[in-house]
Symmetry: C2
Subunit: 357 residues, 2 copies
């Protein structure tokens, strides 16, 4: 399923291929976030033109709304009309970020569905949902503690996540859905490595590193990722959940992370920030008025090929949605291009960690 094609000797970076029921995902890979079944503002054709081969959908969201519609369509791929790889998030992380009332127990997460019905989301139910959606890569339900939780709470989350991981593995039914286990362990390197070793012993197809990017200092995130990676098998694909700003990718690719997902590039685009020449820029700035160059010279994305920075500045100032579309295309393409070049450099043995996208 996962084959490592090349490794950089000086760092832990590697290039590989994850084989899924909907084609290959070359790693290191970045998955644009399609929480509700759409990468905001964009079509699947645009994602293909950007070079994306995989996206991540939040299965939990479809539990609240759209589950029947996806089933009627024959799965999430058909529903969205996206024939490439789809990862599905189990939703533990989304729960704690949402202004959403739920109760956590050893059995799972209890809450009310929009129609008022009480619902218990347990490990097997979460996997059933993801398999039913036709996910290519599902995650076992985890108990993701808030930032700054006590050691007691962290230990409980590790224990539950482990128990749930085992239950998820037992509940597997679909051969088309790979299953990744999730590493927790809060902000303590020892607990992280410890939990990674525990989860690593289970028969997962890959591993997600969870519970990070919640607002902790970047040094903590980095240390926790490294501790998690230390406890995970080298041969398996590792997915750093929810992290992927242009500043982060170089570091974590070097550390050995294979897969990223993040709303950061597209959300920044919608807020007027675009990436060019290794920096972030604000399209609203007066200095872009009348500029006849593209957002980034040499960029081969649709936005840069067709439009000037001056036009996009005008659209953004006029609050035209097309501005958000074009900036989203550019930012996601910048990330995809950076990763494509990184994969080539790893295969050709010329990899050197760049500062940022």
């Amino acid at each position: 399923m996962f084959r490592i094609q090349a490794e950089d000797e000086r760092s832990g970076a590697r290039a590989g291929v994850l084989r899924t029921a909907h084609g290959d995902l070359e790693t290191p890979a970045f998955l644009p976030v399609a929480t509700k079944g759409v990468v905001k503002t964009l079509t699947p054709d645009e994602l293909r033109s950007i070079g994306a081969h995989g996206i991540i959908v939040n299965s939990f969201h479809f539990l609240l709304r759209g589950r029947d519609a996806v089933a009627k369509a024959g799965g999430i791929h058909e529903f969205m009309n996206w024939d490439r790889v789809i990862f599905t998030d189990c939703g533990g992380f989304q729960l704690i970020r949402k202004d959403f009332s739920f109760h956590l127990s050893d059995e799972g997460m209890s809450f009310k569905l929009p129609d008022g019905t009480p619902y218990l989301l347990d490990p097997s139910g979460s996997l059933r949902l993801q398999e039913e959606m036709g996910s290519d890569v599902a995650f076992s339900l985890d108990d993701c503690p808030q930032l700054g939780s006590s050691e007691k709470r962290t230990l409980l989350s590790m224990e539950r996540t482990t128990t749930w991981a085992k239950e998820s593995l037992v509940a597997r039914e679909s051969e088309n859905t790979l299953l990744f286990g999730i590493v927790q362990g809060g902000g303590d390197a020892e607990l992280r490595e410890d939990h990674a070793r525990t989860v690593a012993e289970l028969e997962f197809d890959g591993f997600g590193i969870g519970g990070l990017g919640l607002g902790e200092p970047k040094e903590t995130t980095m240390a926790m990722v490294e501790a998690s990676l230390k406890g995970l098998p080298s041969a398996s694909p590792k997915h750093l959940l929810g992290i992927g700003s242009p500043d982060d990718l170089g570091h974590y690719v070097s550390a050995g992370v294979d897969i990223f997902d993040s709303a950061f590039p597209a959300r920044n685009a919608r807020h007027g920030t675009f990436f060019a020449d290794g920096e972030s820029h604000d399209i609203r700035k007066r200095r872009f008025e009348g500029v006849t160059d593209p957002l980034e010279k040499g960029c081969r994305c649709y936005a840069c090929g067709e439009f000037t920075a001056g036009y996009i500045h005008h659209l953004y100032r006029e609050k035209e949605m097309l501005a958000m579309r074009l900036l989203s295309i550019h930012n996601l393409a910048a990330v995809e291009t950076w990763l494509a070049e990184t994969r080539v450099s790893l295969r050709e043995g010329t990899f050197s960690r760049p500062v940022r996208v």
Copy 2:
């Protein structure tokens, strides 16, 4: 410049071609509205795929914002990256619809630019602006009275519009910009026809019928359009300004209108209404949940070719912008397709006025 290719004997409908500096516009034609230099949510590529050959931009808006940027780009076509026909509205109509403070006199419209500078928009200045933008078809500045204005006010607006029309013709500089005169006359058929005859005597390349669609009853609009057409030369192209709902087109094409522009189809799309099988539908309705058919069976637009009504229903409920894009594409394509079929039927002598798009 304008050639009539076929006429329907029983009605006044005709098919023709308007030759412009950016190619031919086959009539009857519908121009999607790109007030601020963009048909909301869409790219020029999407407009081409819809079958649009011309759009209409509001020159007045660029006076307030973006004029320099357009000049730096080399014109509005280059600015937007749209190489087909562009009409520019002179802005008289926009002024009265806007919550905008201005003073009207025989000289023109006085108001303050965003930087506070007092500005007088007069007929020659309006034309200069439109020519400078590289408009293919400009309109002479008109004095558009509010709905329900007195006869005195209507007569003044006609007189001013005529004087301004003459001044515009004198001010012409660009050979690449056709110039259309505007017919006013309020809600009085006699005044309408009278003003049409007056404007018709001037050397315009075509005529716009203005001051309608302001909220008056549909019967009034229809009567005023007919009275205006009666006073205009048969051989010239006639543009009904700002009107083009699916219900309207059949009637006005039959009456002899050649060109339409309206924000109606795209605005309705953004509000969740789409046109299919001769009716308007609300995508938010529960009955579209999980529907695996396209918005309209047999429709060849991108939205219908790629996505189900159930998916678009889901996107709209989730307030995803992609829903607005796809509905806009569908509605504009429905109008364009209807007009393309109408043109064929006129040329083949099989035209019969359909009830609606």
